[in-house]
Symmetry: C2
Subunit: 439 residues, 2 copies
């Protein structure tokens, strides 16, 4: 006999057992419903692409983490490491088949050979949504309001979306004459929450001198209500302009929609990436601020410049579903599904198999998740199995019941039998018992 | 400026544009709802696994098609090529955390570097469902009835599930003294529908001599109603036994559940794989028999022998979702979703942005998929956009409406304006217009 192969998975990869997978699907279902309510539509792209398409011609930091190999045909291929790059390629390839402005979402697995010591997974799920082909307050606002509504739909009421505008920040840097250090400054400012203000100040002094460094800290440190902070930003950036007007309009729309209490204007939000050009934002759960942003994004002025000369401005955000799932688990919100099964039809004897299944069919038609215990076993064991799977009712169709045309239903919570029921009565009772817990 | 990278995808890989992706999600949603009704629960496994785990220690036919490479840590890894092998590994790894009998489904992408000339994809989606840990008529029947109900739920009424039993076939071969040629005979018989009876006969003569070859053809050629065919099988296999009793019990349960007209006992169904030991089945759409089976499977007596010494008998089936999608598209069934969006709130002027969004929120709360056109553009172009996305109503909140607190709704199908509506009236009208098409 051949030796046994150890059934192990790769480091950084996971099996999803039913409980977790049900939770994951519950969350994606809620998000998807919200997105569809806003007129967003789903797309999908291949997991495997040409390496050149995914990595471009340069070689950045992420490149080392990419799963890359030569396929059967000698092609240099790689597994996608995010959903942004494939979306850019997708838009360039299909822009003529789509209607602009185009609103899409994409929930899918991505792969990075990261250091698992840092608690990172190598296979994880992302959820991106964008509006491409327009640059307006309305589009910016739609992304922000959809984020707000999605978290509410997930049962997270305490959510704060901190936003700012990269255009104002760039104007501020230019106003101080340090625009050419923009990339270094952005990278440094982005570390604020991780390393603290003093360490950031030291680094900024290195980059731009003490006076400028203190000014940058003043800018990103501005606090207060929306208008106060906006005034500070305007003053430090050299006055009002298109970018600050955009922020003002966003604030007005938030108020009109009654959702402004969830938004904070926070100039320390800059997002490290060069990519962003307009509004930028991060989302924090009030109960778990320490886990960091669960949904981040911003406006960019050209999505697909690597693949097409057509300009495609857009605004969008990304949710790290694994981190969000862990957070929801911790705060006990949403995504907790229904039981695996609601009613268990017991296996009484070999002669009744057809009857068990026929009755299970009737239960399903009545909207009840019903399964038939598949083999002969002591009733106690079958009750135990039913409870483990979360069933609230057991249905007994023994020889006596079958002869008399009646049904016995056991209320598994109360451990009480209801005997001699007509089939219709039994179905009504099961319905009552199984729906009880949901309300 | 850097040169443009061509936004191409790998041969055998595809982008899913919204229309197709919405259809795909519609189909998986319907299937998933059915599976949950039967008490099946979802799992997921990694796309990337140790090559040894996926391919075992031998080297079969499929091995050449597997995407296999060395990862950053020098591990020999491969992308999954089906969902059966990962499920076997999963069960071996987690059997102690699960309840047996365990019912799971798994819908996910798999990868094979197949010859695309044959119209095959290299990335495609499978849907597997199994009951593991029991060997009974009841479990076999549950898989069969769930297949039946799932296709009905998809809107395919004309479906025929052809089934047989590998145990009876094996007994028949033993009865004729040709059991040792079993593998060759199975492989040959499995080609019947592709190459025809004469070619099969020639090949069988090579394998087992003329007399046996004709007997095999007689066995697999048996036709008629369930009982007639069962009698022929019994006679040729040397009489009644456990295996033929299983078939008889299945037939009885089908009758009790009123679904027997969808099932045909067909001894030519053997499934080429050595793997199966009991009931085997294939599913054909009555309107499109030429596309072959859209859902196949059977009973096996040991799922995970590669990874554990614990015996795990089971029964299950697999749906090729891509082929099924193409078929449903052709026969015009199911999975056709709702419009991308139902109501479009038009962009009248820059001053109204907050009002447009506030009204869209009210529409969504009333259960309507509503989006705000994001930028200033001629009304005609906005109407055209709304229609392209499938909206049935447009909402106009111009300066006049905003001043008077009224709403104008345009019925896009009838091209008729309804002016001066109170907001609540407008919502009711939009509801009416957008739900119309569904009934």
């Amino acid at each position: 006999m051949a030796s046994i192969i150890q059934p192990r998975v790769l480091k950084g990869f996971r099996d999803f057992l039913p409980e977790t997978e049900i939770q994951r699907r519950g969350i994606t279902k809620i998000l998807e419903e919200q997105f569809r309510f806003f007129g967003f539509v789903p797309i999908d792209t291949p997991i495997l692409e040409y390496t050149e398409v995914l990595l471009g011609k340069g070689g950045g930091e992420t490149d080392k983490q990419v799963y890359r190999f030569e396929d059967h045909g000698g092609r240099d291929v790689a597994m996608r490491f995010d959903l942004t790059v494939p979306f850019a390629r997708f838009m360039a390839a299909h822009v003529n088949e789509l209607y602009l402005p185009f609103k899409r979402y994409h929930m899918a697995k991505v792969f990075r050979g990261e250091n698992t010591q840092r608690g990172r997974y190598r296979e994880f799920m992302q959820c991106d949504f964008d509006i491409v082909g327009t640059d307006t307050t309305s589009a910016d606002f739609e992304i922000l309001t959809m984020m707000h509504d999605s978290f509410h739909a997930l049962g997270v009421s305490g959510v704060t979306i901190r936003l700012s505008h990269r255009g104002v920040f760039n104007r501020f840097l230019a106003h101080r004459g340090i625009a050419e250090n923009s990339a270094d400054i952005l990278r440094t400012v982005d570390k604020l929450s991780k390393i603290g203000a003093e360490a950031v100040l030291d680094m900024l002094i290195e980059i731009a001198g003490e006076e400028n460094a203190r000014a940058v800290l003043e800018y990103i440190g501005a606090r207060g209500d929306f208008s106060t902070v906006l005034s500070t930003m305007e003053a430090l950036a050299g006055g009002e302009a298109e970018d600050t007007r955009r922020l003002k309009e966003l604030k007005e729309a938030m108020e009109q929609c009654g959702i402004s209490e969830s938004f904070v204007l926070d100039p320390s939000i800059t997002r490290g990436l060069d990519y962003y050009t307009g509004v930028v934002f991060e989302t924090f759960l009030d109960e778990l601020p320490q886990i960091g942003s669960v949904c981040s994004g911003g406006r960019y002025n050209n999505l697909a410049s690597l693949y097409t000369k057509q300009e495609l401005p857009g605004v969008g955000a990304s949710i790290g579903l694994d981190r969000l799932m862990a957070a929801l688990e911790e705060i006990g919100s949403a995504g907790r599904d229904e039981a695996s099964v609601e009613a268990m039809v017991l296996y009484m004897d070999d002669q009744g198999v057809g009857d068990f299944h026929a009755f299970a069919r009737r239960l399903r038609k009545a909207g009840i998740r019903a399964e038939v215990y598949p083999e002969s076993r002591k009733l106690g064991a079958q009750f135990g199995f039913a409870e483990k799977k979360g069933a609230m009712a057991a249905v007994l169709l023994g020889e006596d019941e079958r002869k008399s045309g009646t049904v016995t239903v056991k209320d598994l919570a109360a451990r009480k039998n209801h005997e001699g029921l007509a089939p219709e009565e039994a179905i009504e009772l099961v319905k009552k018992l199984t729906k009880k817990e949901r309300h």
